[in-house]
């Protein structure tokens, strides 16, 4: 280690007491601070000659006066010549960028409000827009009618067991939970016979708030429940854009107890059985949606935003989809019906599910959305 810039301190009077007192900063050693007789900064100059080096932090201080392109260029240009010595900055010259976190402190407008493709995530990409539209039409075409099954939480396990053992029902896509603080109920969810209910390969989408994530983690790593059959594959996040949004998590949140303002909802995507990205195109279509959904004007208040149902529909081609909402979601989050899904909840709007009728419908519809040449040509594909 001989390429260091540290200069051995000369034993001058002014340097040492200050530096020793630095040790006391973190603890509550107030007396050390009181004995500080010298100007702050004396020590710095003595001990480190390179402290004022431009190549470290100097380029990060942005002055406000110079904002027209020419001057910004000068500044960035200078930054680049400096960082050339670090042999790392190969990127092109970058332009002015807003600091949305800084802006939030002064304006109170949430950073996510400034994302410019919240309404149309594939804004600017006509091919992808077409793909998403075709997928939506195809999914609609092969969707069962919207089913609701209104069942009280304490009766859910019985109902599901009846579906499994008496009606021989199985689903390929199962969603559990909703955007409500009271949703992940460990004792209930761990008792649900999901391993029997879910086909193989099968896909599970399970919701949790930031507060409940540890509970979900515990559930999914518990090897004595059904969860041992599932692998965690992706973590989806849904974000409301406004503090007045019905999806902004307000229940049971006290600012004094949160390190950061909690606003996101997590939905873990898990897989059971084997699927291959490259060859199982009749079962799954990868990389169409992203792992992030942002609320927009078309997001209706409901137990689960339509965007996330869409992620599941675009990913798995299966037509057998079930959504379990294990407890009441409240007046702000009505459990809406969705074509192609059976929704099991204590307060779903309709109670029209009949296993026999459902099976007949699936039989005539087919258990998978068939391949479509145009979609096949447009969708991002994994090289074989």
């Amino acid at each position: 280690m001989n390429n260091t810039s540290y200069m051995r301190p000369v034993g001058t009077r002014s340097g040492y007491p200050y530096l020793s007192s630095l040790q006391g900063w973190q603890g509550s050693d107030y007396s050390a601070q009181k004995s500080l007789a010298h100007q702050p900064g004396d020590g710095h100059r003595l001990v480190a000659t390179r402290a004022s080096a431009k190549d470290s932090y100097a380029k990060n201080t942005r002055t406000l006066a110079s904002l027209n392109p020419q001057q910004t260029n000068n500044r960035t240009g200078k930054g680049n010549t400096n960082s050339k010595t670090n042999n790392e900055s190969k990127s092109s010259v970058s332009c002015f960028k807003n600091d949305y976190s800084n802006h939030y402190i002064h304006s109170g407008v949430l950073p996510v409000k400034y994302v410019r493709n919240a309404v149309q995530p594939v804004e600017g990409y006509p091919k992808l827009q077409k793909l998403i539209k075709l997928k939506e039409q195809q999914v609609m075409k092969y969707a069962t009618r919207a089913y609701g099954s209104r069942v009280k939480p304490e009766k859910m396990v019985d109902t599901l067991n009846k579906w499994i053992y008496e009606d021989n029902l199985q689903f390929d896509v199962i969603m559990i939970g909703a955007l409500s603080e009271n949703q992940l109920l460990y004792p209930l969810v761990s008792q649900l016979p999901i391993d029997k209910l879910c086909a193989k390969p099968g896909f599970l989408f399970i919701w949790a708030s930031t507060q409940k994530i540890s509970e979900l983690s515990k559930l999914l790593s518990n090897t004595s429940t059904w969860t041992k059959k599932f692998r965690r594959s992706e973590e989806l996040v849904f974000v409301p854009v406004d503090k007045n949004s019905p999806f902004y998590p307000t229940d049971s949140l006290i600012p004094e107890e949160q390190l950061l303002e909690q606003m996101q909802w997590h939905c873990w995507m898990c897989i059971t059985g084997t699927v291959r990205r490259s060859s199982d195109k009749n079962l799954i279509h990868c990389n169409i949606n992203t792992d992030l959904s942002i609320e927009n004007a078309s997001t209706k208040n409901s137990a689960v935003p339509a965007q996330i149902y869409q992620v599941a529909e675009n990913f798995s081609t299966s037509t057998k989809r079930l959504h379990i909402v294990p407890s009441k979601t409240g007046l702000d989050h009505p459990v809406r019906l969705r074509p192609g899904w059976v929704i099991l909840s204590p307060d779903v709007m309709l109670d029209n599910f009949d296993p026999l009728k459902y099976k007949t419908e699936i039989a005539s519809l087919g258990s998978n959305v068939p391949l479509d040449d145009e979609i096949e040509q447009l969708r991002p594909k994994t090289p074989v």
Binding site: G43, Y57, N60, K90, H103, V115, R116, C286, I294
Partner: protein
Amino acid sequence: MDKKTNEVLKFLIDWNYLLIEPPVEGSIAEIYFCFIASCQVKGKDKVSWLQFVKCLQKLNEICIHNAFTCLPANALSLTYEDPFKCFSKITHMDRLALNLIYKQVKLSSNPPIEPPKTPPLPLSRLRLAAQREVPKDKEERLDLLMELVDRPPVKSKRAASDLYAGLSPLDIEDVYTTTSRSKRLDQLTLLLSVPAGSHILAKERAKLRTPIKPFFDCCDDSRHAQLLIPLTSFDRTTNYCKLNSTRLNDRLKLETGSSDTYTELARCVNQKIHFIPIIQSQTDIKLGDCSYLDTCHKMSSCRYVHYGQLMPQDDSASKKAAQHNKNISKSMQISDFTRGEAISPATRPELPAQWINCDVTKLDFSILGDDFALIIADPSWTIHMNLNYSSLTDSDLLQIRMDKLQKEGLFLLWVTGRTIETGRDFLKKWGYQVVNQITWVKTNQLVRTISTGRTGHWLNHSKEHLLVGLKGNPKWINKCIDPQILISSTRETSRKPDEVYGMVERMVGPGTRKLEIFGRQHNTRPGWLTIGNQLNGTHLVEKEIAERYYSASATEA
């Protein structure tokens, strides 16, 4: 027993221990207000304050003074002119005794009074068809309504319309909710949602101390971008567009009274950022935007659309910002609100940037001290394919003695994909509790989330996570100042957004010691010690660390 006492009794049984616990805490006056707010009785049947206290006395007497334990003990035998002069409390309520009275009353009264919480019997369809009467009880009415929703349509139209008319709520009081005491519930929700004074003060303090950075809205009017194409020129060396003001002025002069397209455009150009499509000879607009935009390496031959950034000309906001920023050091000194601070930041200036170029897995962490307020680490998890670092296996990483770095404080760990769970495990093993998960929403030049390509295994990835671990219960943390979501554009591979520094510095306050592990030269900054194997040598300012570090390396040599 009279009707009013019966009402009070029903109310007490309904709410029982909730009245004894905070926020009501048994205050007789508060219980009275709750009762009034929840009671539907109006007019001459309304229970007055004096009547209310009398009812309580009566109930207590029936139970031979065993129903309520009060503070003072004789609270119920005192007279209070109005509730605002009553500070007495009920500390215990004998629910069994109250329930017994209630049962007795029910048995003796004729006709029997409807119990408050008896679940209504489900109406059978046969009964319903025969009866076709709208029940009075709200819960029964809901059941009837739900049954009608699920049932095939009623044949007789007249009967149905009568039924529906009877079921439509007349006003808000008529709406059934899970608790008929919904007003009180609303009051409590409101109370809980009002932020605490300390929180408001902490936010104001953060505002005073955070420099205002220049900020401009981005124009969302796509017509503006189109109109600006002939009025601007793109400079490839700077990536900025430059406005040709003479051309814009010419258009403004040509504009007649009825149309104001260019007037509007001129105003917008002054205030907002515009992204102008750069149309080159090879550009094919039908293909849409380039996935790489400003980072495209083949911009001169790429057929997709790229954009140039046109900055607004107006600079007035920056003057106000400059004034604010000048006053920051002053507001650091005047610190009337010291909650969440270990010491006044004015006496504790930020140290200059420090760094040590080393192999983190081999560095003895006792050199660094154990008093960092905050640590941030961006390990090159094996999945990253990061060529800047030889990637670290999970077990290599776990073996680093991260547990020795802090007595109490925060540890932030960058994770993606599969490492979200591994990261959680590791933080726990190092002695931290995972308390939050920051999301970095990755955007491109146009402030749109990254959505193209194949950026993830099953789904595309437009975000990364920063796990937040907490050790101990430090009193000096400023909570809930920033949101957990951060929006920033992507830069070089694996380079993380600088906005994180602003966020975490607000969390732990100015002047605290902060450590970055696996940092590079661009991560070095005042107040931070950066360690990693991609740094320019070693630069230390704190004497103790420097001495320990050099004596250690001397013995090694």
